[in-house]
Every structure is written in C-alpha cells, then in structure tokens.
C-alpha cells in the first residue's frame, strides 16, 4: 500500500533512532535516498545503528547526534547541533521531523528539570524540539512533523491537578497521558499554523510493536506486562510503516486528518479532539519550556 517514493534531496530528523521503530524508520528512509539525521541517547548505540544501516545501504546519507531528551538543556543543544549540520549538509531545511523517542520508566523519576520523565521525554521534548526547529521546517517547500503516539491515548485524560503524576504514579497511566499529549500537540500545532501553512503535523499510531520500550529500567510485573504485550506485536519494520508513509507519501497532504494508523486516517479519542484541552496543554507546555510560539 505504500509506494516506494524516492526521497533523494529530502532532509529528515528522527529521534529515538537507535532501536525499535525509530531505527526501522531511519533504515527505510535512508534507503530511499533521504539525508537522515538520527538522534540517540548513547554514542555506542548510535555508532552501532549507523554501521548496521550502512552495511545494508552503503550509499545511505546518514548522520547521528547524541542527546538525552529528558534534559531541556540537551534538547536545546541538540537543536543547535541539528541546525549547524542541516545548514552544512542537509540543504538548510528540514522536510520531516519524526518525534519518535519515548520512555516508560517503571517508577516515578524526576528529570534534571524536576519534571516527570515520561511527560518530559514523550511530550515536552517533541514540543520544544519542534519549536526550536520550526524555522528550518518552514524553510522547506512543504514540511511534516510526525509525532509517534499510540492507541494507548484512548481512555486517558490529562491529570491537571498533578500533571507530573508525582502521586500514585503508575507507569502505564503516565504513558497513556503522554501519548494523549502527542495527539493534542499535533492537532493544536496545525490549528496554530493555519491551513495555509507549509508545515503540517501528524500523530502516528504504529500499532502494537515488538520493541524494547517498557523494558529499560523496569522490573517485575511491569516488565512482564510489556514482554507479554510485545509478543503479540508486529516487527519494528511494520510499526515504522505508518511513520514512513506520513513522512513520504504525497497523498497525505490532501487530508486534514491528524491521527493515522495503518497508513489510514482514524479519529483519535473524543478527549484528544477537544480544542480547549489542547490549548490548555499548549500554554502549560510553553510555560514549562520557557518559550512562546507567538512571539
């Protein structure tokens, strides 16, 4: 169903690029000729991913940058590094930004900014990185921001009274909230950019995929849960399909849909479509990142 569109000349940034869905997406996109900049947390894993992909696609144009997205300082530093490298090698614009990196720690964990880890990495990092890279996205003839969400967003609400889930933390509830935030962010970004904008945002639902998520720094029941869950999951390549589709297929542009699964638009939960919730989350996220999109 996905045609293999040639992506030569395109510049694509992918976070969480060293494992799972992100890595599969990088392999596919670089294989089609795009200049891909992957972001990972560990230098070794970045090197390892780079070598593996180059072994398969020797002509791939591939670069990696290292950043811990739980830290806002590092997100900002990463944006600077991406800017420099895109200006030097990537044609001075970004065609596609894929916010894929995600974590599910088993316990409440505070980041260096004092925020809850999942909210910081799964939601605030994409929010801030997209903001920082917006000038480069707007420099492309038509750009896309693809944020990897999940059907886990269904049934979730934003816990306004304790958005960091400090009390009664449960990793799955915090995960669901962060994936809901991804949908709300994508929809609100489109509203703010307006219909005439050259940049559009999408939330991709990869379906259930067999990756390592939920198994780093968790244990016991939680690890068991994710292991059972991933057993039924598809391969990372299948999971990356919708992401690659949203990043490359020209037909996507004709649709107003925000949320996509199996390369088809699908309505997200009713709560995820609420404009008041999206606007409120947006202004809170601005405050927590110390930024203002309007200004």
């Amino acid at each position: 169903m996905t045609a293999n569109h040639d992506l030569t000349g395109k510049t694509i940034v992918v976070t969480g690029a060293t494992s799972g869905i992100g890595r599969a997406a990088v392999r596919e996109l670089a294989g089609r000729g795009a200049w891909v900049l992957g972001v990972g947390r560990s230098p070794e894993r970045c090197r390892e991913a780079r070598d593996a992909i180059l072994a398969e696609h020797p002509d791939a144009r591939l670069a990696f940058a290292v950043a811990d997205l739980s830290s806002q300082r590092q997100v900002r530093k990463l944006a600077c590094e991406i800017r420099e490298r895109v200006l030097a090698e990537g044609g001075g614009k970004i065609d596609v930004l894929i916010n894929n990196a995600g974590v599910v720690p088993g316990w409440y964990t505070a980041t260096e900014d004092g925020y809850e880890m999942q909210f910081a990495v799964n939601h605030l990092a994409p929010f801030l990185l997209t903001y920082e890279l917006m000038p480069l996205l707007q420099a492309a003839p038509e750009a896309r921001v693809v944020t990897v969400s999940s059907s886990s967003h269904r049934g979730a609400r934003i816990r306004w009274g304790d958005i960091m889930h400090r009390r009664y933390y449960h990793c799955l509830l915090a995960y669901k909230q962060s994936k809901l935030a991804n949908v709300l962010f994508s929809a609100e970004l489109n509203r703010r950019l307006g219909p005439a904008s050259r940049v559009r945002a999408y939330a991709a639902d990869p379906g259930l995929v067999n990756t390592e998520i939920g198994q780093k720094h968790t244990s016991g029941f939680i690890e068991w849960f994710w292991r059972q869950r991933r057993r039924r999951g598809a391969t990372p390549e299948q999971g990356a399909k919708t992401i690659v589709f949203l990043a490359s297929d020209p037909s996507v542009r004709g649709s107003d849909a925000v949320y996509w699964k199996d390369c088809r638009p699908l309505p997200p939960s009713r709560y995820a479509q609420r404009e008041d919730v999206a606007a409120r989350l947006w202004s809170l996220s601005e405050r927590l990142c110390g930024i203002s999109w309007a200004g």
């Binding site: 260096e112 004092g114 400090r166 933390y169 244990s219 110390g290």
Partner: protein, 277 residues
Amino acid sequence: MMITGAAGGLGKAFAAECASRGWNLYLTDLAEDSLRPLATGMERLYGVEVRIRPCDLTDPAARAALWEDVARQGVCFHGLVNMAGIEHEGSFVERSVEELLGIVRLNVEAMVEMTRRIVQFRDPARRLLIINASSLAGYFAIPMKAVYAASKRFVLDFSKALHEELKPGGVTVMALCPAGLPTAPRCIRGIEAQGFVGRLMALNVGDVAAMTIEHALAGRAVYVPGIFSQFILMVGNLLPERVVAAVLNRRWRDRGQPVRHTLSIPVSSTSEVMTSK
C-alpha cells in the same frame, strides 16, 4: 524551605512537593550545574521563588560560607529537608579511612550543623519543620554497611531527642526512614538484586516526599514509608539483636552480590573476614 541533597532523586521529589505547596525553595547540592535546571523547572511549574547555592556539606568551611550567605541575604526559613547523605556499601576493611570518615562528616556532622543553624535562621512567625534523612538501616546493625547504618542510627536518635526538646518552641523534628528507593539506575539495579523483597519495599519517591511532609505537618517524630518496611521493623524489633545481625549479614551477602558487582567490590574475601570473627 531549605533542601540539601536537592539534585538527588529524593531531593528533587521534595523540591517538587514543597513547591507544589507554594513554599519558596533554597536548594543546595554539590554542583551548581545540577541545581540550576531544577530551580528553573520548579519556578515554571509551581511559580515559586527558588534560590540555589552549591555547597560541599562535608567541608566545614563551605558550610560556614553557606550560612554567611544566608545571613547576608536575610533569608529566613520555615523548614529544612536534610537529604544530603552518602552511602558506601561493602566491606569495612576495603574502604579507605577517608571514605569512611566522609560518611560520618556528611551524615552526622553536617546534619547537626544544618539543624542547629536552621533554628537560628527560622521565620519566627511560623512553625519550623526539620526533616532529617535517616534510613530503615538506622534501626539495625548492618554488616557491610556498618558506618552508614550507624550514622543513620545517629540521625534517628538525634531527631527523636530534638523532636521532644524543641516541640515547645514550635519546631517539629522528624526522622525519615525509608528502605531503598528507586531513584537512580544504580539503586534500581540494587532493588532488583534483592529480588522480590527489594521490589516489595520499593516506593515511588513522589509519594514518599508527599507523605513525609504530611507526617511532619502532623507532628510525628519518625516516619517509615511503606507497609512492608513497617512490617520488617516490627519483626526486627521482636527478634534478639544477634539474630537480626546474622540474618542481615546473610541477606546482604547472598542477594547483594549483583549490586556489589556493579560497584566492582570483590565479595568472596569479605565474607570470610565476617564469618571468621
């Protein structure tokens, strides 16, 4: 509210808990680099005022400089959360004298000074809360953690005594006695190394911080978070001390091995030393 060891896992949770109550913060830890983003985050999230002051609390001169700053700035406090502490796990004879004394300097000496000084710089109009980090380890004599556990025992008795002594002056002193908490990857590995028991005892630091403040506000002298820890304590108090020490020795020797591996301390020789005594 002053928080020492603020950049640690539990310290950050206390910073968020106190800030969420609208309390302004005075945060201290070793590195300014780790304090600044935390301060900014707390200001943005809760709209409170946050001051930061890097300080090596093991150094008496650095402590003196900190309090001089406090005096100069005219800050006054209605609370102190004393979370700074170190722990060296492993055989006593394989630790350097410096390392062992470092535990005493931070966990005992600094604790006493900070507690004494905060009373001096208290907000006279408000009740003063002092929360000192002891540990479940403070209740037992623990082989492989001899100095650490004894230092926490000091904190426990010190806090209990001050709790009574300072109560009439509108001061609540409380000792917090948690079991291992899942704060850093190393601690999580440690909890996993202890198997099922470690996992049962693990609590979310967000809940621990919130409950601790609630207990302190309720005027308690000691707070042991978690039903399982409270149960261990009850059982431990019923058994003769020698039995408890023997059980703990076995537990740390057998189950603690993976942890000690990550800290790369050889174990085999140490257990021989322990048993031959």
